[in-house]
Symmetry: C2
Subunit: 140 residues, 2 copies
DNA sequence: ACGAGTACTTGTTATTTGCAAGTTTTTTGG
DNA sequence: CCAAAAAACTTGCAAATAACAAGTACTCGT
């Protein structure tokens, strides 16, 4: 997460994308949101990646500020919030899937369920639609 | 660029992908390699992003170590090196294109040539092939 | 032979991260 | 109804990383 002066900030899509994608923790938070059903602060904290609580808080703040996640109160529980992907956040799904595909191809250690890989390679767009609608429905 | 202990390193594709994608500067270096015809150290240094020379050197080292770029001597110039994407590096092109597409959709400031966007949306795979073959031929 | 070009390295300061502990509400269990 | 656990943070501090500035070591063109 590099700070940037207003000067030469605008115009480049990759530079813009790097605001989110160019950060290790943002990527892992997005993964948890997209593929692991994470909703609460504690879900991200205990995702097994060892993120510090102050870093998590700051990342959630920037993701919210960028309009990628939305924070709402949990109706079932007063002092609990639910984090969900906005439409803009869901728009990052194709990029995430491409990273998964790449890692699966080039990293020996990577383990992706074969049915997932097959579905991904058979047709990206239908998988995107499927996951998107699942996530949208869960945000009721 | 977070250091990681061997413990829980393996398995997750996003965690692996974050090694590269989860870093602002790596992303911008990849952009320059893929879309700006950057080849030499100075090309990255003067790309207008204000990367420090020590950071650039360290990133090129990791990208090389990860097998994403290859460093060879420039035949036309003794003390000059050429950096080119390996096949593994080229494999990241689809993910980069998805980021471009996303930024173009959600960031007002982003400016991508309309013909590029059209080509991208008409058919990803043919654009991937086109750029890939261009980059491969230039590495002779 | 000299200055400009190329790819760095080294040092020093500023910023960010990681770790540990503490705070504030809210729910749950007896 | 009261105490303890849960949930989502905040704060403080040491350690790691990044940014800035300068210097080095070859090389090429003139």
């Amino acid at each position: 997460m590099t700070k940037r002066t207003t000067e030469d900030w605008y115009g480049c899509p990759i530079r813009y994308g790097a605001t989110i994608f160019g950060d290790n923790w943002c990527l892992l938070i997005l993964r948890d949101l997209m593929f692991k059903g994470a909703k609460h602060y504690a879900d991200f904290l205990n995702a097994g990646e060892g993120i510090s609580t102050n870093i998590l808080a700051s990342r959630l703040t920037t993701l919210e500020a960028e309009g990628i996640v939305e924070k709402t109160q949990d109706p079932e529980h007063g002092k609990r919030y639910i984090y969900v992907l906005t439409d803009k956040g869901l728009g990052l799904l194709p990029a995430m899937l491409e990273i998964i595909n790449w890692a699966e191809m080039w990293d020996e250690q990577t383990e992706v369920p074969t049915e997932f890989v097959e579905e991904l390679r058979k047709g990206r767009s239908s998988l995107v639609k499927k996951i998107t609608s699942q996530l949208k429905s869960s945000r009721f």
